[in-house]
């Protein structure tokens, strides 16, 4: 059992949880994730390590489906049945020179830990974050602190640059001021944003989020195609070279259970505990 030590809602429908999990924080680094299961009936879902402090790990998630909504309803002091990790390979942190770390939506949560590690390795780091509107932006202050520079974009112009992180990235590419780029967000955002560095050959990493079960390389659910070869995102990744990813395949596989995910959520809302003890 892993106790929730702190919880906050930090943006529209986005939550930050600190969970006591010393086995994760001991070696957990940027780029890695945990797999958690709330209770005996739960699904195993992967969530990125967004920060660690002492024995506590932070996860940040959007309450989209059954599991994340159930998680969002949990309170400080309650426990999560299983938290396994750290899983996956750490980000390729070394001295690259000038780096950009780009986050879309809840993917922004993965950036602070990465920016800090990159800076500690002697890099100059620009953060670029984007969301549909101001209400969906998160961790701004923390990122301003972790990066040398922070650029904010909103699709509707409610804050910062009116447009997408891809626009900002394109400018930086044409100014030739970049050595490595990380893009983390929804698959479609990563696909489109990474086009900006395609011709320049700038090393561009993305963090892939296929559907996982064990997260330890045992089932093959998370298989993705990288440069024509099959890889398991949970052990070979989750970060890969953006320009080698078969995006359409990833997005197709992500939709495998759309119908059942809806059913699961409906079932949850029908059978949710109404005792009033949990919110």
């Amino acid at each position: 059992m892993y106790k929730i030590v702190k919880r906050d809602q930090i943006a529209d429908n986005i939550f930050e949880f600190w969970i006591n999990a010393p086995h994760v924080t001991k070696t957990g680094r940027a780029g890695q994730f945990v797999v958690l299961r709330i209770d005996e009936n739960g699904e195993r879902i992967p969530l990125t390590i967004s920060a660690t402090k002492g024995d506590d790990v932070r996860i940040v998630f959007m309450a989209t489906g059954k599991t994340t909504q159930q998680l969002a309803a949990m309170q400080v002091g309650e426990s999560i049945r299983d938290v396994a990790g750290p899983l996956g390979k750490p980000s390729d942190v070394k001295k690259w020179g000038r780096c950009a770390v780009i986050g879309g939506g809840v993917g922004i949560a993965c950036l602070p830990i990465l920016a800090r590690e990159l800076r500690e390795a002697g890099n100059d780091v620009t953060g670029i974050i984007g969301a549909r509107n101001e209400g969906l932006l998160l961790l701004e202050d923390e990122l301003r602190d972790a990066c040398d520079e922070l650029v904010i974009c909103t699709d509707d112009g409610s804050k910062g640059h009116h447009g997408y992180p891809a626009d900002v990235l394109k400018e930086m590419v044409s100014d030739q001021i970049l050595d490595a780029v990380w893009i983390i967000g929804p698959a479609i955002m990563m696909k489109i944003t990474s086009l900006a560095t395609f011709d320049s050959g700038i090393k561009t990493f993305v963090s892939l989020n296929p559907i996982m079960v064990d997260g330890t390389g045992m089932c093959g659910s998370c298989r993705v195609t990288i440069a024509g070869e099959m890889k398991f995102a949970c052990v070979d990744g989750p970060e890969f070279d953006a320009h080698e990813v078969d995006w359409d395949e990833l997005m197709n596989r992500q939709r495998t259970y759309t119908g059942q995910e809806k059913e699961s959520l409906e079932h949850y809302h029908e059978h949710k505990c109404h005792c009033g003890d949990h919110q």
């Binding site: 086995h23 001991k26 009936n41 396994a84 089932c219 052990v235 395949e249 596989r253 059942q260």
Partner: protein, 449 residues
């Protein structure tokens, strides 16, 4: 073995084989000829004193029978159910020449079940030595090594990356063949001896390698969990599963009870399972229980199927349609599975293992298509690469196994390995046997220094 009727068992995941009554067990035991030079013992990978325990059953001393088996086999309730007896002890039974061999597997299971129901003797343990041992993996190999080391008085911590212990016994072999309360019972036994079990701990990540190597001794039993793929077109479609994924979703995550349990699964109305081993039979029979029409595509002949004889018979009874001498060439559809294209295979000269080598037929009309919406690949698994690849200086074998000597010693003096990670995908009895040897070597090493 007595089995529940097909119509009934297709409705649930309860055990198919019902086991022997006391009376029938004694009658079966009385059939044993008590050969002076028993060939059955040679057929057993861990050389159980088979005539000895059968004689005890014949004398209705079941506790003695259990005691005899447990000298060589720590997990009789499990092995009695899943060992390929027809290829081991029962294949050499003298009675088999004219009549049916003694049902050694059924008797082993009977004794183990009897003992479980009537109270298991707690094994004696030596006084505490203060030595610390790390066991990686909680499959049959890990459970066995842990038990043996605990009995020698050492402190044992078992690390398991999943949220439940048992390895393949828990996530792979379905409950209708390997009831989960029996697996749990074996795990509880190890815990009762004082083992500490740390679930959700991926050794190499949650437990860094230097921390692992700081133990007085290490036993690695991480298994062969890496699923292989055929490498044909269409494997990325939704609805293509490895057997590991399909079985894990059902056995470990209970996707058969969705939405009461959260994990989803595409059940399929027509399912193709590719392969001919135990893993393929299990997948096919699970798919049948989920209501699908099931084809099992195997590249050799029916008589070459490597699965346990009993499970092949069960699969046939349960309506699995065998498509032998055929091999898939491509999965049709996109992004969902719509069919599987196969080619007929002809059998050529035999290889070293005595099985014919299948070769694709070349004449026109040798291909055919099956209309399916789910494909399950059960074509084999390789050694789990994660931990082995993270330990520097650990010598690896050809296909990614960890290299060990007869006693399970690896290239690092205080690190031992056993089970599927050392042998490549094998069987429960081999995993148990090799772990027992390695544990004996660990205990000897620790006693000496």
């Amino acid at each position: 073995m007595n089995r529940r009727p097909v119509e009934e068992r297709l409705q649930d995941f309860d055990e198919v084989a019902t086991g022997l009554s006391e009376q029938n067990a004694v009658l079966e035991a009385l059939r044993c000829m008590e050969c002076p030079r028993p060939l059955c013992v040679n057929g057993c990978p861990v050389s159980i004193d088979i005539p000895g325990f059968i004689n005890a059953i014949a004398n209705e001393d079941f506790r003695k029978a259990a005691h005899i088996i447990k000298q060589d086999n720590m997990l009789p309730a499990i092995c009695g159910r899943v060992c390929p007896q027809e290829a081991q002890c029962q294949s050499t039974c003298i009675l088999g020449k004219k009549d049916k061999p003694v049902r050694i597997g059924a008797l082993e299971r009977f004794v183990a079940d009897w003992e479980r129901e009537n109270g298991v003797e707690t094994p004696e343990t030596a006084p505490a030595t203060g030595k610390r041992i790390a066991v990686v993996g909680s499959g049959p190999a890990g459970i066995t090594a842990a038990t043996e080391c605990l009995r020698a008085g050492h402190e044992v911590t078992i690390f398991e990356s999943l949220h439940a212990a048992g390895g393949v016994l828990t996530y792979g072999i379905p409950a209708f063949r390997m009831p989960k309360d029996i697996v749990q019972f074996e795990i509880d036994q190890v815990l009762a001896l004082g083992a500490e079990l740390k679930l959700n701990h991926i050794v190499g990540r949650s437990v860094p390698v230097d921390e692992l190597l700081a133990y007085d001794a290490v036993f690695i039993g991480t298994g062969a969990g890496l699923p292989y793929f055929m490498g044909i077109k269409g494997e990325r479609f939704s609805g293509v599963y490895t057997a590991n994924e399909f079985l894990t979703r059902v056995n470990l995550m209970h996707a058969n009870k969705f939405p009461e349990f959260d994990t989803p699964l595409i059940r399929g109305s027509r399912v193709a399972v590719v392969g001919g081993g135990n893993v393929a039979m299990d997948s096919a029979r699970v798919a049948r229980r989920l209501g699908a029409k099931v084809y099992l595509i195997y590249r050799r002949r029916e008589e070459d199927l490597p699965a346990r004889e009993e499970e092949v018979a069960n699969a046939i009874q349960e309506g699995v349609e065998f498509v032998c001498c055929a091999n898939p060439t491509r999965i049709l559809g996109g992004p969902q599975v719509q069919g599987i294209k196969c080619i007929r295979m002809e059998m050529c000269e035999c290889d070293e293992s005595g099985r014919p080598v299948p070769r694709a037929c070349t004449e026109a009309g040798s291909t055919f298509t099956l209309d399916v919406d789910v494909v399950i690949e059960a074509i084999g698994q390789g050694p789990n690469p994660l931990l082995a690849g993270l330990i520097p200086d650990l010598k690896r074998g050809k296909r990614g196994t960890i290299e060990v000597d007869e006693d399970g010693r690896t290239s690092i003096p205080h690190v031992f390995a056993g089970g599927d990670i050392a042998t490549g995908a094998a069987t429960v009895i081999w995993a148990m046997g090799s772990a027992k040897k390695a544990a004996a070597a660990i205990n000897k090493m620790l006693a000496e220094n």
